[in-house]
Symmetry: C2
Subunit: 119 residues, 2 copies
C-alpha cells in the first residue's frame, strides 16, 4: 500500500495574517506523530484563470489511511480546524491514497571514505 495524502488548497480572507496560520500548522504537525511529512507552497504564477483565486497548497502525507484518521480525531486538530475555518474564503480538500508513478531518484551513495570510516 502507498501513502495517504491530505491535500488542501485555499484562498485566505483578505485581512488574514497568513504567516500566523502557517506557524499554527507547523506546530500542529510537529505535535502529531501520525503526520509523516508536511509541506506547503504559495502559487507564484498568480494567473487567476488557472488558480481560480486559490493561493496556497497544503500537503500532508501519512503512512496509511488509519494515520490520517488518527490525525483527524486528534484534539489539537479539532482545535486548529476551528481557527482555520474562520480565516478561509474558499477551500478544496482532497484525501486520497497516492499512486507513485515516477518515484524520485534515490539519493547518491555516500562517498567511499565515509563507508570506510564506519567499518
Amino acid at each position: 500500500m502507498g501513502e495517504f495524502k491530505h491535500l488542501v488548497i485555499v484562498k485566505f480572507k483578505a485581512d488574514v495574517v497568513v504567516e500566523e496560520i502557517l506557524t499554527g500548522l507547523e506546530k500542529l504537525v510537529a505535535e502529531i506523530d501520525a503526520v509523516k511529512s508536511y509541506e506547503w507552497g504559495q502559487d507564484l504564477e498568480s494567473q487567476e484563470m488557472l488558480t481560480q483565486g486559490f493561493t496556497h497548497a497544503i500537503l500532508m502525507t501519512f503512512d496509511k489511511k488509519e494515520d490520517y484518521t488518527l490525525f483527524l480525531s486528534h484534539p489539537k486538530h479539532a482545535e486548529f480546524s476551528g481557527t482555520f475555518s474562520t480565516v478561509i474564503e474558499k477551500i478544496v480538500l482532497l484525501d486520497f491514497p497516492a499512486t507513485l508513478v515516477k518515484p524520485p531518484p534515490p539519493p547518491p551513495p555516500p562517498p567511499a571514505a565515509e563507508v570506510k570510516a564506519e567499518v
Copy 2:
C-alpha cells in the same frame, strides 16, 4: 532551494475514460527527464462540500523551477495539454516552490550484514 511543485486538481467530464488520461500522463512524465517525480490520487471521501466536485489530484515535483519551465516548453507537454484541455470539466493549477516543514523520517539503515558485504 527546495523543490518546485506543479499541482493540478481536476474534475473530468462525465464521458471521459480517466484511465486513458492517466496512462497518457504516465507516458508523458516517463519521457521528460525534467520531471523528478510524479504521483496522483483520486479522492476517496467524496464529500461534495469539501471536494467541490474535484476528484483527482496530480502532483509533479521538479528539482527547481527551471526544470518545470523545461517541462512546460517540451513538445510532448504541449501535445498532451491539447488533449487534456478537452476532457476536463473544471481545473485548478497551483505552481509553487515547496516548503518542507516536516520532512519524512529517513529510511532505516541497511542491516549490518549488508554493510559488511560491501567492505
